[in-house]
Amino acid sequence: MRPPATFSPDDIVVGHSTRMRAIFDFVKVVSRSDSSVIITGESGTGKEVIANLLHYSSSRRHQPFVAVSCALFSENLIETELFGHERGAFTGAIKDKPGRFELAQGGTLFLDDIDDVPLSMQVKLLRAIQNRTVERVGGTRSINVNVRVITGSKRDLKQMVAEGNFREDLYYRLNVLPIVLPPLRERREDIPVLTDFFFRKFAKARGMDVPAVSNAVRYAFSRYRWPGNVRELENSCERIVQTCTCGTVRSGCLAAGVLFGASDAAPAPVAGELAVPGEAPSISLDDRLREVESNLITWALKVSDGNKSKAAELLSIKRSTLGDRIARCGLVESVAREVESPVDLDESVPVAVSA
């Protein structure tokens, strides 16, 4: 159980994506109701944030918000966690202990990872939610509980029902108001807003200036798949803020996993590798500079979808200069080819099944 103080509406960032805006509008509507809400989304998409928001915008906001992950407990323990136990119910039960349902009395109970609850426990959960009463383990007395139940699941419960791993009756009891949170890779337009928000937040916590973020880093962030979703992005930003020594976030600050992930999503660079044969290689400065130049131009053209004016802006040069340099680097044909057949990231990358 977390104290309510850990949540503040300032923790919420509403991005630009229409899907998230629709979700926040829906939350506003259903926060007034007392019906069960089920929040489905991959790990790190913000299920608990939404549960918190629901609670703190409801009329129950002055009552407790109790969050519990059902994945944390073994089959036996989860029953005593949720329903409590009487003194002497089992070895070590030296005093009466209220369960999470009782602790949430009058407020909201958030049962996360509901998909990890074993079938045998699902029956008891159904009874408790349906009758709004619980019985402590080892007790006979029924205790009335007035709680709003919000559940979180990383798997699609409907499919689990079809596979026989989730009780159909409990599914329908829980699935009154469904909210589906999209993975971060399906709302990439929100990545810049979230990135800025997290950098600001962590820089403020550390008492330092908000770092500048290079275009290459933004490009990498927008390309990476983010399997850990917003939580992974948040952690990446935290790590960078804690380790940055120069005040500007550059590609060198990124975890190699993000760099490789972002690069692999993009087409291979046009410029050939620098071949340095022999023991004592001599380096041609002109060749080297031209290689850097052509890589940068290729990158800028990719980021701007082949729009030369935008690319020139990214590189802080004039549009006409860019044209000259493209010609000088002999990029014309290869770049033009690439822009004609851009690789669509979302389609070319296989979508992982949430774990």
Binding site: R250, S251, F260
Partner: protein
């Protein structure tokens, strides 16, 4: 034996992003199955960049090239 081309192929994957920020990762030498590399440019002096990049790049090299042994910072 690990070839220069194999190592360059892995480094080449992240090179454009590094270069876009005025940096680079350079393959200085190959000794047996170990590669000696150098970070140059903007992030060359940053201990964090060294740490994360070298750890991650070594992992990627080992992932891609079975016989790869060690990444050495020079």
């Amino acid at each position: 034996m690990v070839s220069r081309e194999q190592v360059e192929a892995v480094l080449g994957r992240i090179r454009p992003l590094m270069q876009a920020d005025g940096g680079d990762i350079e393959l200085v030498d190959l000794r047996g199955n170990s590669a000696h590399v150098r970070l140059t440019g903007m992030c060359a002096g940053c201990p964090s960049a060294h740490m994360t990049l070298y750890m991650g790049v070594e992992l990627a090299l080992r992932d891609e090239i079975k016989e790869f042994e060690e990444l050495v910072v020079v």
